[in-house]
Symmetry: C2
Subunit: 481 residues, 2 copies
């Protein structure tokens, strides 16, 4: 061994040791991801009792950590889940819209998810709940970095299919709950129907708790991704909560969520790992409806939700779709009682978790997320993100820039019409949270700050063409243009 190689070995040992030390310090991550859950629901955003039930556990979680009031997502289930997993605009991954027909959809194996990143960094990775990023071989969570998964591949409204007239004769297969371990074929546990629909989140909670216990016992940092199904229609609370709020099914459901999240936090306390565990409570997109949930003739089709002061519902480009509740607790690093209105996007969680966990951010593709860890832990007052491009499906709806929003289109509602303006419109989100008054005049200067962001994004899409929706595996990206 030459002196030179000895020096190299020494250098390697130092790196290895510091990595090992870092590994012990690395926080566990519990990411609770609600379904169609509006900004205005939890008590910590002014909801709670006015929505049918207090949410003391959620409020305490927020009070013990950081509340972000301007945390943004893509506005439909599949795009939102694609963006949070990859740190990339969903359009890049071919997941701009929820799949409505049959056929292959979701994440190609070439995509590198948050779970793969954390798994490579030494984390135990478990997922419990709704995936909505693929339902075919090679497209399940256990194909994308999760050690184990229990849940549903698609979406919760499928749970009513089997009880509907005509479905049996359609030739379509019934939706299944799957139980999967990395490297094995997922097992069909049971049909996902209206009988099991109220029960599933209880099981998701129990499985998440068991996984955290197992990982803690093995002294391994964990990443638990918990995309609950509860608040997606049909809103059917667990029997433990049905009728308990005295304010209807939605209030019951709020009690259920609050209680389950409380259980998870209590589990961290019991395991003695609360101090260095990140708990994030957020959602995939805004509420299903701003209406009553009472106009429908059946429980199954009743839509619920409140976006608080923000305009409109999911599947739109308005703030009600984009902004979701966000509470983050991490006692070791985040001071209690903080709040910020800085713009953060769900895509930012990928590079942020990579920074925190010592994971790898791929250099061979565009990552749209930015590391916001300094904001989260209070080292900076700024997120480092000035804005983002607002998609509605595969359409560019507009641009958000600081306290301003540029609308290129108008939309008549989640199932309505999307029309293009002949002239962009400008809204101030502080003065006008409901996006009512176009103040292009005299604020034309806002276009000069917001539109370059959009132009840059469009150039990037041309240079790195999106993966076409429905692309089969294996996928190899073409060389950048």
């Amino acid at each position: 061994m030459t002196i030179r190689s000895k020096a190299l070995l020494l250098a390697f040992c130092v790196v290895a040791l510091s990595t090992a030390a870092a590994a012990q310090d690395r926080p566990n991550i519990l990411l609770v991801f609600m379904d169609n859950f509006g900004w205005g629901e939890p008590g910590f955003n002014g909801g709670g009792i006015i929505r049918g039930a207090a949410t003391p556990r959620l409020d305490r979680l927020a009070n013990e950590g950081l509340r972000l009031t301007n945390f943004n997502v893509e506005v439909q289930c599949t795009p939102s889940r694609s963006a949070i997993m990859t740190g990339r605009y969903a359009i890049r991954s071919g997941n701009g819209t929820v799949p409505l027909g049959e056929g292959v959809y979701g994440l190609v194996q070439w995509e590198f998810t948050m779970a793969e990143m954390l798994s490579e960094a030494g984390y135990a990775t478990g997922m419990y709940g709704k995936w909505h990023l693929g339902r075919t071989e090679g497209r399940f969570p256990t194909d994308q970095g999760f050690d184990e998964w229990y849940g549903i591949p698609n979406t919760t409204d499928e749970s009513v299919y089997t009880s509907l007239e005509g479905f049996a004769e359609s030739g379509l297969s019934a939706p299944y709950v799957l139980d999967a371990v990395k490297g094995e074929e997922p097992k069909q546990v049971r049909v996902y129907d209206v009988e099991y629909r109220p029960l599933i989140d209880r099981d998701l909670t129990d499985r998440a708790k068991a996984f955290m216990e197992k990982s803690a016992a093995a002294n391994k940092p964990f990443f638990v991704y918990l995309p609950y199904t509860a608040t997606h229609f049909p809103t059917l609370p667990h029997p433990d909560f049905a009728g308990k709020s005295g304010k209807g099914r939605w209030g019951d459901m709020l009690m259920q969520i609050d209680s389950y999240v409380g259980e998870l936090v209590d589990t961290l306390d019991e395991l003695g790992i609360a101090n260095n565990t990140i708990v994030i409570f957020t959602a995939d997109n805004g509420p299903e409806s701003l209406g009553s949930g009472e106009t429908s003739l059946t429980v199954e089709t009743a839509l619920h939700g409140s976006a608080g002061p923000w305009r409109s519902s999911l599947f739109t480009g308005y703030e009600g779709a984009l902004r979701v509740p966000f509470a983050m607790r991490w006692p070791a690093q985040i001071e209690a009682g903080r709040e910020s209105d800085e713009i953060v996007h769900e895509m930012d969680l990928f590079p942020t978790f990579a920074k925190i966990a010592g994971g790898k951010v791929p250099q061979d593709r565009v990552i749209d997320g930015v590391d916001v860890s300094d904001l989260l832990v209070g080292k900076s007052e700024k997120s480092g993100r000035d804005g983002f491009v607002v998609y509605m499906g595969n359409d560019i709806f507009g641009v958000k820039w600081r306290d301003w929003k540029i609308h290129l289109k108008e939309q008549s509602g989640w199932n309505g019409v999307l029309r293009e303006y002949t002239m962009p419109r400008v809204y101030n989100l502080i003065n006008d949270p409901f996006e009512r008054d176009n103040v292009l005049f005299p604020h034309t200067w806002v276009l000069r700050k917001g539109l370059p962001q959009l132009e840059e994004h469009v150039v990037s899409l041309k240079k790195h063409p999106p993966i076409p929706t429905g692309t089969p595996d294996p996928y190899e990206p073409p060389p950048a243009r």
Copy 2:
């Protein structure tokens, strides 16, 4: 002296002693009454930073006491101020609308105000701010129970009059700031103009602090009514706060309010009387506008505000007009961290304060308010009020009953058209805070609970005819029919 008269004397002494003991225990009352201040503004209702500035002092006030999420008012300045002062629907007092023309308006001397009630019960009574219940001799606050008053008789938009083209030639008198002591004619301090408009609330705060200090030194319980002008247009923050939020004038104004309320609370601490002082922070009606405040060409006419999740603005029958922020701190009697969605109306404060302060509720007239003290101090979970009649001006808009609202009319906005429905509509406020979906079917039963409340009210108005608007003093009520 006979034995019988001795016994009576003894009985009298016991009563007198217990009254004296009670007098020492009676809480001070500081009632901060904001102008056109929507439910969604303070941080404790999910506002704060999303509205332009955090409100840490207001939030702490709410956290240290009770937050009511369903505190209701009449929807215009004058009616709301009439109702809170008298404990009666404004229609009864001839104050159903704000006065737009000239002539006598406001409270006839026959009315018995909250200030008279508390004054008779031994309180020192001071008012600092906007009255809007009369501008002529015999109609000032010092004619209605206040020992002293500093402020404006009418409304804040008058402050721009003197700077407007045409006003000087109108023959109308300039609006004045008045300084008044009971039994004396109010003194004109200065013209209320755009120069003084940003400064007035600083002076109101200082005067309120001085009055509390003086009363505490005299060991006399006090009632301070503090109807700030700050948040009524024109929104012109004090120079101490202008530009401080970095989010525009509204954010600056939120900082100002928060700071002033903080000062008042600090004064109570310094005086050592915080424990047995009731501090209430609430408002006269919902926001001026749900728009941007940026569409107006001048600062003077820009309208601001957010009702949070509730529909519409002031001068309507919707929840955005009716529900206002409400925080109440009273350390001696109210446990910290409480909240309630029970229906309470501003009219309830009169009998509630009477109960708390040992004051007299008149028996010779209809008092519409109910004593909600048991709810406030936590002895009951119920307010004792199931609902109320919703007025928009002198028109009956509908009825609120528990979580339901019956609309008899629809309204196109605060300055729009009021039209009568041919069939009442029913809304559920838990499921549908934005009052979007008429669920009359299948909920026709709600009419059977809500409409009797309205019928009872109409019968009462026939039996006890309202005082006609503009009635001069002296007024004597006709015998009940």
